[in-house]
C-alpha cells in the first residue's frame, strides 16, 4: 500500500501540497513515484514564473515514461528543488521530504478543489481496478 500522509492535501493527478505559512510546497505522491519507477530526469520551472491552476509546470521522467506535473492552484514559483535535478531518485526515496519539487506563492489562499488524504486514497484505490 502506498503512503498517503494525513496532513497533506492532494490532486487527482497525484501531486501533494503542503501549506507552510503562505507558501505551498508541491511534489508527487508515493503512489505516483511507484507507478513511474526509477526517476531519471526532472525539469522544473523558472523561479518567478506564474501558472494557472491545473497548468503544466514541470516534467518528471522515469525509466518508463514522462509525466507532466500540474500546478495545483494559481500561483507564482518562488523556489525549486535543485537537489532533485541533480539526483532524481530522491523522489523515489523520499517523495514527501527531500523529493519535493517546487514552492509556490498562491494567488489566492483558498486552495479550492484539493483533496484530503481520505479522498486521495479513494482516487488511488479506484485506479487499481
Amino acid at each position: 500500500m502506498s503512503n498517503i500522509p494525513q496532513k497533506l492535501q492532494y490532486t487527482k493527478t497525484h501531486e501533494w501540497i503542503r501549506q507552510d505559512d503562505e507558501l505551498l510546497t508541491i511534489g508527487i505522491t508515493d503512489h505516483a513515484q511507484t507507478m513511474l519507477g526509477d526517476l531519471v530526469y526532472v525539469e522544473l520551472p523558472e523561479i518567478e514564473s506564474s501558472f494557472d491552476g491545473g497548468q503544466e509546470c514541470a516534467v518528471v521522467e522515469s525509466v518508463k515514461a514522462a509525466a507532466d506535473i500540474y500546478c495545483p492552484v494559481p500561483g507564482e514559483v518562488v523556489e525549486v528543488n535543485d537537489a532533485v535535478i541533480e539526483n532524481p531518485q530522491l523522489i523515489n526515496q523520499d517523495p514527501y521530504g527531500k523529493g519535493w519539487l517546487i514552492r509556490v506563492r498562491p494567488h489566492d489562499q483558498k486552495g479550492s478543489g484539493l483533496l484530503n488524504a481520505d479522498e486521495y486514497s479513494k482516487v488511488v484505490a479506484s485506479e487499481a481496478h
Binding site: 519507477g37 526509477d38 531519471v40 530526469y41 525539469e43 521522467e61 525509466v63 515514461a65 514522462a66
Partner: protein
C-alpha cells in the same frame, strides 16, 4: 487471463512488480530497475525468459528446411553452436528474430519471441510442408538467463560439478546438452552469461540455487535498458514485418553466399540492395537534457526525418540513448524532437556499452 511462467509464484515472493508483456504476467522489476541494471553490468543477475518459445525441429530435412526458412545460413553451424538470425516473409520483412541451436544434423532447437509465438509457429509449420521435419513446441521447459561478468564464476555454485565444468568451458554462442538440461553461453544484455533451458519441474530448485549463489532477480525493465545499451534490437519496436534486416542494422545476419541458397525473402533483399537501401537503424546519444522516447521524430540536416524505435535512459552512461530509423545518409549529428523542443544528439553505430564499458 494472462499466461504465467513456472517462475510466477517466485517472482511474487520476491516482491516483483508484475506487468503484462505480450499476454504474460511478467516481473517489471523487484524494487529498482536501475539497481538491477547495474547488478548485471557489475556482478550477475537472472531473468525469467520462459515466456519465449522453445521449438524443437527433428527430421532428416531439419537443416535444408532452416536453410530456406531463415536469412542467416545454418550451414555455418557445427553441432553445439548457436546462430542469431531473422525469419523473413517474401517481401524481406522481419517475421521474427530468433536463435537457432544446432544439436545434430537432424535436431535443431530454435528460441522465438513471446509476442510472436503463435504467428511464428503457424508460419514455420506452413513452410515445413515439403520437408521431412517435425516441429514440437516445448511448453514443458522453462528458461532462465544468468547474465553478468560474474555469471561464469557463479555457475559453479549453481549447476552440478560436471555440468558446471562444461558450462565454463563453453565459448560464446555455443551450448552443451545434459539430458533435459540445455546450457548456452548466449544472452541479451551485452554481458557474458548463460541461457539455461530446463524441465519446468526444476524451476524452484534452480531459482534457489541462483539466489544462494548471489545472483539477483532482474525484471523486464532492466532487460530492456541492458539490451538497448548493448545495441540489440527488440522485435516489435526496432523491427517488424514492414522493414528488412538491411534497414535494421542486421545486414551481418543476412548471408547471400552461396548464391544458390534460396531463402524466403532473398529476392526482395536483392532487389532492395540493387535499388539502394534508403533507411538504416542507428544509435543516438542525447547531448542535451531529457529522455528520448519511442516514436519521437529525428530531424536530420537537409530535410530528412527519422523515427525513434527504442528510446530510454542509459543507467551506465547516465544519459539518454536510442535506436532510430533514419535516412541512410545521416551525418554524425541530428536533433530529436522531445516535447516540442529540438534537442541535439550524436549519431553512433551501436552498441553503446559492451562488457560494462562505453564503446562509441
Amino acid at each position: 487471463m494472462a499466461k504465467r511462467t513456472p517462475f510466477y509464484d517466485l517472482h511474487v515472493q520476491a516482491n516483483a512488480k508484475i506487468v503484462d508483456f505480450a499476454g504474460w504476467d511478467m516481473p517489471l522489476h523487484y524494487g529498482s530497475q536501475i539497481q538491477e541494471h547495474h547488478q548485471v553490468r557489475q556482478h550477475a543477475g537472472m531473468f525469467d525468459v520462459s515466456h519465449m518459445g522453445v521449438v524443437d525441429l527433428h527430421g532428416t530435412d531439419a537443416g535444408p528446411y532452416l536453410r530456406r526458412l531463415v536469412a542467416n545460413n545454418v550451414d555455418r553451424l557445427m553441432d553445439g553452436k548457436a546462430l542469431y538470425t531473422c525469419m523473413l516473409n517474401e517481401n524481406g520483412g522481419v517475421i521474427d528474430d530468433l536463435i537457432v541451436y544446432k544439436v545434430a544434423d537432424d535436431f535443431y532447437r530454435v528460441v522465438i519471441n513471446a509476442g510472436t509465438r503463435e504467428k511464428d509457429i503457424a508460419w514455420m509449420k506452413l513452410q515445413s510442408e515439403s520437408f521431412d521435419v517435425s516441429l514440437t513446441e516445448r511448453t514443458d521447459l522453462a528458461m532462465l538467463a544468468i547474465q553478468g561478468p560474474e555469471a561464469r564464476e557463479k555457475i559453479t555454485r549453481i549447476l552440478p560439478a560436471a555440468q558446471a565444468e562444461a558450462a565454463i568451458a563453453l565459448k560464446p554462442f555455443t551450448f552443451a546438452v545434459f539430458g533435459d538440461w540445455f546450457v548456452a553461453r548466449t544472452g541479451y544484455t551485452g554481458e557474458d552469461g548463460y541461457e539455461i533451458i530446463f524441465p519446468a519441474t526444476d524451476t524452484a530448485r534452480l531459482w534457489s540455487a541462483c539466489l544462494n549463489a548471489g545472483v539477483v532477480p532482474c525484471g523486464l525493465g532492466a532487460r530492456d535498458t541492458l539490451r538497448l545499451e548493448a545495441g540489440l534490437n527488440l522485435y516489435g519496436s526496432d523491427m517488424d514485418e514492414t522493414v528488412t534486416p538491411l534497414e535494421s542494422n542486421l545486414s551481418w545476419t543476412v548471408i547471400m553466399d552461396p548464391a544458390d541458397r534460396v531463402f524466403i525473402g532473398r529476392e526482395a533483399l536483392e532487389k532492395q540492395k540493387q535499388q539502394g537501401v534508403k533507411r538504416r537503424l542507428v544509435g543516438l546519444v542525447l547531448d542535451g537534457p531529457g529522455v528520448i522516447r519511442n516514436h519521437q521524430k529525428v530531424i536530420v540536416a537537409g530535410d530528412g526525418v527519422g523515427e525513434v524505435t527504442s528510446g530510454g535512459y542509459s543507467p551506465t552512461l547516465e544519459k539518454s540513448i536510442a535506436l532510430a530509423r533514419v535516412p541512410v545518409d545521416i551525418g554524425a549529428q541530428c536533433f530529436v524532437e522531445i516535447r516540442n523542443k529540438q534537442i541535439p544528439a550524436q549519431v553512433i553505430k551501436p552498441p553503446f556499452v559492451r562488457n560494462g564499458k562505453k564503446v562509441f
